[in-house]
């Protein structure tokens, strides 16, 4: 089960590369002219070989450079410190302020504020976003089936906004007709049902803009008996059209291009990993996740504990979501990414770093 203990729960700090960063290396390479290709190759190829695990050894001339290695195909640089931390977001669940109603029902209270904020969607690339609580995706709201939810929504933005929760609730709590003007507020109150993996998002028009700008988040309702203990991660598949031409320049899970590729997610060998995967990609009909070196049990929408599909690739339409469960049999580095190559190459790629020793 999850714990509500702050934004860094469950995830150890991102792995950092000792010594030279890739950017420094490249810069040095340019100074050295022709040294570039060989230097990058020397770094990239052996590391890739190590990632291949077991007996596989990659051999080849340094003249190939970084070509063909995933090291060269990614956004360069690091995020500005102090901003959104994708590593922390991955394992953070917001259970709200918990109390008990007279009836014995659990009450969970949340505060959500819509505000405008510039966010970093790839190192050095800033996007004028509309956010819930200043972050994209918004906080991952988590509760248990049957809980009473009270969500105080304030609109501190300059456009009308709402929160539309997926799930079962009365009409007046739907957030589709109760548009909150700038400076206004609204109290959503309903019982959490059914259990599963849902989402919430703004339902003001034009919808496409309000979603693409970042007004969305994950909404998890746990079954009464809970799910088996696992390492739980949230991944929201999203994209950003930074030049406003109707196509995304950046694709990611949790907003930042290539972040989990540069900072692999540590996972323990054999431990059960549960991935809450939500698709809110705008401008593309579908998105997908493919896992390397493994297969996962896929519970579509997470509303059923029994039926599942055993696969390594899942495709989700906009607004669809799935709970994926898996554990790794071998240590090493395993990629996960959209199987649409373009999405992967524009940022929707990550790596699981599977180790035998326990992580923090």
């Amino acid at each position: 089960m999850y714990v509500d203990d702050g934004p860094t729960a469950g995830v150890e700090p991102a792995l950092s590369t000792p010594g030279l960063t890739r950017r420094e290396l490249l810069r040095a390479g340019v100074l050295g002219g022709a040294a570039l290709a060989t230097a990058a190759g020397a770094l990239a190829l052996p590391r890739h070989a190590a990632a291949a695990g077991l007996a596989g050894v990659v051999t080849g001339g340094g003249h190939l450079g970084a070509h063909g290695s995933h090291e060269s195909m990614m956004a360069v640089g690091e995020l500005r410190p102090g901003g959104f931390d994708p590593a922390a977001f991955l394992g953070h669940f917001d259970g709200g302020k918990v109390s008990r109603l007279a009836s014995g029902q659990t009450l969970r209270e949340y505060e959500i504020v819509a505000m405008e904020r510039e966010i970093e969607v790839a190192p050095g690339v800033f996007f004028p976003a509309w956010t819930y609580n200043g972050q994209v995706p918004g906080p991952t709201i988590r509760c248990t089936e049957g809980d009473r939810l009270r969500v105080r929504f304030a609109n501190a933005g300059s456009h009308p906004h709402t929160i539309h929760f997926h799930g079962i609730h009365p009409a007046g709590m739907d957030g589709s007709f109760e548009i909150v003007p700038p400076g206004g507020s609204f109290l959503y109150e309903f019982d959490a049902e059914p259990f599963g993996l849902h989402l919430y998002h703004c339902h003001a028009v034009p919808l496409k803009r309000h979603l693409h700008k970042g007004l969305y988040g994950t909404f998890i309702i746990d079954p009464r008996g809970g799910r088996p203990p696992a390492r739980e991660l949230v991944m929201v598949m999203n994209g950003f059209d930074t030049n406003l031409d109707g196509e995304n320049e950046v694709y990611a899970v949790n907003t930042v291009a290539h972040h989990y590729q540069k900072h692999p997610i540590p996972v323990r060998l054999g431990e059960l990993v549960r991935l809450y995967l939500v698709n809110v990609t705008e401008f593309d009909l579908i998105n997908s996740l493919h896992l390397h070196g493994n297969l996962f049990r896929c519970y579509r929408t997470g509303t059923d504990l029994e039926r599942y599909e055993y696969t390594d690739t899942v495709m989700l339409c906009q607004g669809e979501r799935a709970v994926l469960e898996f554990s790794f049999k071998y240590p090493g580095k395993y990629m996960f990414h959209a199987h649409q190559s373009e999405f992967a190459e524009l940022g929707w790629t990550g790596v699981f770093d599977v180790r035998e020793e326990p992580h923090a």
Partner: protein, 409 residues
């Protein structure tokens, strides 16, 4: 100095400033500097206190990057030359190649001030013969594109390529001009009115070449980074060249005598030479950017097209007894620039210089047309609008049009 700023000594002094007035209240230079000083103060005040701040706050920064050239120096590497052509600093944050985020390095900081340049080096496994699209993503998420239509290794200034481009230039420019010179013996058998016909035909050829080059100049002007004002550059070349040539021509001449046939022939050769420089640029850059088929068509097209240029050069000399050496020099003046153009086009590529070269070519041609016009008009009954001469002019245009069909647009 304050006097300068407040008011001139009298209202009459202001009413007719260009007139050499007898008033001497202030030295002449001070009268000239006064308005300048006032202007400087106003500019500073506007930049400091002007209403621009309102817009700055209300609008996102205007970013403008121009991708000047993409070269492929070796397999697996791209080099993108960019210039910040906008008024605001631009920060290059990421680079996308063929819709994939890619590692890269810059020969300097990521932020470019106005008109600053950078070369972005990208280790990218480009595929021979296929297009490559490069997108530079700025800090604000704007993107600026560059494309290589056909990926092939960019020729370096090796002896082999210098030789090859020279050969291409010789084929396209030098040989046809010399072929055209061979018309001289034929011209010398003609009566004067037929010589005038061929002179008119030369005017037609030149007008066609001039308009053609103007079109090219304006097309390239569109690719010149904004602050360098491509269209203004065209005007500078087109208007400046005849002014400069005219002034030079007047200096070289003693008195008001008309241009000699040799002078006219030299002018024609020079004008054609400048035009051929532009043609060489096209050929060179076509080969350098991997558009082999286009380059080959250009060479064949220009080969046929330019034969008529030689005719244009010798037409004014129909009544002369030229020494072969001087004729060769004229041919070289018209033809060799094609070789130079091929080198420039093949090894460097800057829309700025290409635009300027074409514009200068247009200006030179305009000057030659003007001289020929006066030459014809000065002769007895030789005005351009006489039926035979008008027919010659039209024939010149038609010949160029017909041979131009062989040159791909």
């Amino acid at each position: 100095m304050p006097e300068t700023l407040t008011a001139p000594p009298g209202p009459r002094g202001e009413a007719a400033p260009p007139a050499p007035g007898p008033r001497r209240a202030l030295p002449g230079w001070a009268k000239g500097a006064g308005p300048l000083l006032l202007l400087a103060v106003l500019v500073l005040a506007f930049l400091r206190f002007g209403p621009v701040g309102v817009f700055r706050k209300g609008f996102p920064p205007v970013e403008e990057l121009t991708v000047e050239r993409i070269t492929l120096p070796r397999p697996g590497e791209l080099r993108v030359s960019v210039v910040n052509s906008g008024p605001e600093p631009v920060t290059i944050a990421q680079v996308l190649v063929d819709d994939a985020a890619w590692a890269h390095s810059l020969d300097g900081g990521r932020t470019l001030g106005r008109l600053e340049r950078r070369t972005v080096t990208i280790p990218y496994p480009w595929v021979e013969g296929e297009p490559v699209a490069v997108k530079l993503v700025t800090a604000t998420g704007l993107t600026f594109d560059g494309e290589v239509a056909v990926a092939t290794e960019t020729p370096r200034a090796s002896g082999r390529f210098v030789g090859t481009f020279a050969l291409l230039g010789i084929y396209a420019g030098v040989i046809p001009v010399f072929l055209g010179l061979l018309w001289l013996p034929f011209l010398r058998t003609l009566e004067r009115r037929w010589v005038d016909f061929f002179l008119s035909l030369t005017v037609g050829l030149l007008v066609f070449l001039g308009v053609d080059a103007l079109g090219e100049a304006l097309e390239f002007a569109g690719r010149v980074p904004g602050p360098y004002q491509g269209t203004g550059l065209v005007l500078l070349g087109v208007a400046g060249t005849p002014l400069a040539l005219g002034a030079l021509g007047r200096r070289g001449r003693s008195g008001a005598g008309a241009a000699t046939p040799w002078a006219v022939a030299t002018l024609v050769a020079a004008g054609i030479g400048l035009h051929n420089l532009g043609e060489g640029l096209l050929i060179g850059s076509a080969y350098a950017t991997g558009e082999i088929a286009l380059g080959t068509f250009l060479v064949v097209g220009f080969l046929i097209h330019n034969t008529t240029e030689g005719l244009g050069i010798v037409a004014p000399l129909a009544r002369e007894r030229p020494a072969p050496g001087r004729l060769l020099l004229l041919g070289a003046l018209a033809g060799v620039p094609t070789v130079v153009g091929a080198w420039i086009g093949g090894f460097t590529h800057s829309p700025f210089w290409t635009t300027l070269f074409f514009a200068v070519g247009v200006g030179a041609i305009a000057q030659v047309v003007f001289v020929l016009w006066r030459m014809l008009a000065g002769r007895e009954g030789g005005a351009l609008l006489r039926p035979l001469n008008a027919a010659g002019l039209l024939a010149g245009l038609l010949v160029m049009y017909a041979t131009g069909l062989l040159v791909p647009a």
